[in-house]
Amino acid sequence: MDLSILIQTIASGVMVGGLYALIALGMTLIFGVMRIINLAHGEFLMVGMYVSYILFTHYGVDPYLSIFVSMPILFCLGILIQRYIILPVIKAKAPGENQILLTAGIGLVMTNAAILIFTSDYHTVLTSYSNATVHFGNISLSKPLVWDFLISFGITGAMYLFLMKTDIGCSIRAVEQNIDSARLMGINTDRIMIITFGVGAALVGAAGTLFMPIYYVFPAIGEAFTLKAFIVVVLGGMGSALGALVGGIALGVTEQFGAAYISMGLKDGLGFVIFILVLIFKPSGLVGKSRF
């Protein structure tokens, strides 16, 4: 086994894993507060990708700058969906499967609306740095991927500060721990749920924008990423933000290993294998129940 290939594989796995972590962070946050698995999560990613695609092709905005547009748009979209569709159902005390089915329905509507608007074609953005590489000693990495990793790391850090230092962040963590006590302490839990969903959508929208320079977008892309986010969340432990980071990097490295040493086609399958192994041997996830 060539050592430099090994290091190369691990390094690019960690980079991709940082993006997966960003996607899963939104899902785990939503799950922690609302106890809902958001099956429309990948569709939010798709919306984020289309936002930066449109901005790039029509207005020539650099994909990395469009993050400042895609995050607010996704935040508003998330807030509207939560306020008018999901919250009424949660308040009606619908059974869990109805709530998941509801998010799946939202996802289907978003995918098919995208098909109607953009057709099923694949789109990419070609920037001056799309094919640029960075060299660290022996290994070379795609330049946009390194940027993606750094920015997603920055966003994750900002998220950490938001949750730990701000009032709203404290309220979110309180609702996560015990919703009834939080309500008794005078926290407006409905408002917190709405904000959390918006933040979760904004995080995954940012991830979508970051994905755009290294990936292509098409309407049905969401499904695969919803599954990936779910795998990451289970890997790391449900509702654990540190878990999302660990799980994301674990999945990224596993996939890169699969692609490098087994076959490109089965690289996604390897993630599922890890997922099944975790379900069998450590159902609470790699990091267990710890939060931040």
Binding site: I85, A92, A104, I115, L116, L227, L279
Partner: protein, 312 residues
């Protein structure tokens, strides 16, 4: 009305319904109407068999496409590669669904609630990836074309699916009337209490899953025959198979025997109505329907009706 009377009227209703169903193709020779009825019957079976696991035993699965796809591929591969007749293929498809359901269930049933639902979904995705990648055996993304399906005319397909529907509904009805049917409901109502009362919860969950997977597998084989072409994206589809099965049941009324029939009728007719408007995006209707049903009709058609008229 006394309970016996209700039972009797129900019996006569079912018998007259069956009579109409049997002579229907002789009277009406419109192929399109038959096609719709075939779809309705197919989705009724799929819904009912999902309902046994999800509605009665309370183990909600979002991955029944796994069993549907395995059934479809078993029948097609056995036929095209080994020359096994498609009629026995129907049976083998069911058996294959059951066989694959045991390991999936054994692993997934370690989890509960939404985790369970989604881990079955992940298994369906794994099976799709394997089918795509193992092109030498499954044909990969190209799929499999059945040159000569099981029967050729629409009317024969109609009789086949009505026959299958009668068998499936009788079996499910019988299961629910037996002791295990009550065990299933006990599982749904309170799993821990059921376990405390001495019910082997995992064993009965697996039993419900394997019965459900058996009929789902058969339906996969039927679908392969009916469309005479399958590929991994069609038969392992999350939206078109797994979610649609749940939708049929939730729309009709989860945990009600006749719910899937109503649900599939509404879903099939509505998606046919809208097919012309959203050519490439016909699933849009599913999605919108899911949102509307869950927001405004959470107990489904039969469930809401029962609640309003206080029928047990």
């Amino acid at each position: 009305m006394k309970w016996e009377n209700i039972m009797n009227t129900q019996k006569y209703l079912i018998i007259s319904f069956l009579m109409v169903a049997l002579i229907f193709p002789i009277v009406v020779e419109n192929e399109y109407v038959l096609h719709l009825l075939i779809l309705i019957a197919m989705w009724t079976i799929l819904g009912s068999t999902w309902n046994l696991l999800g509605g009665y035993a309370g183990q909600v699965s979002f991955g029944h496409a796994a069993f549907f796809g395995i059934g479809a591929y078993t029948a097609c591969i056995l036929n095209t590669k080994y020359g096994v007749s498609l009629w026995s293929g129907l049976l083998y498809a069911g058996i294959a669904g059951t066989i694959i359901s045991v390991p999936i269930g054994a692993i997934s049933f370690r989890l509960r609630g939404p985790y369970l639902s989604l881990s079955v979904l992940a298994f369906a995705a794994v099976l799709r990836l394997i089918t795509l990648d193992w092109a030498s055996f499954t044909g990969g993304a190209v799929g499999i074309l059945l040159v000569q399906p099981i029967v050729s005319s629409k009317a024969s397909f109609y009789y086949l699916i009505v026959g299958l529907a009668i068998i499936a509904l009788l079996v499910i009805n019988n299961v629910l009337k037996r002791r295990m049917g009550y065990y299933f409901i006990a599982l749904r109502e309170d799993e821990d209490a059921a376990e405390a009362l001495g019910i082997y919860t995992t064993r009965y969950k697996l039993l419900a899953l394997s019965i459900s997977a058996f009929f789902t597998g058969i339906m996969g084989a039927f679908y392969a025959n009916y469309t005479s072409y399958i590929d991994p994206y069609i038969v392992f589809s999350i939206g078109d198979v797994s979610i649609a099965m749940v939708l049929v049941v939730v729309l009709g009324g989860i945990g009600t025997f006749w719910g899937p029939l109503f649900g599939s009728t509404v879903v099939v007719l509505l998606s046919e109505c809208f097919r012309n408007y959203f050519a490439g995006a016909s699933v849009l209707v599913y999605g919108a329907l899911i949102i509307i049903v869950i927001m405004f009709l959470p107990k489904g058609i039969v469930g809401s009706f029962k609640k309003r008229f206080k029928i047990a």
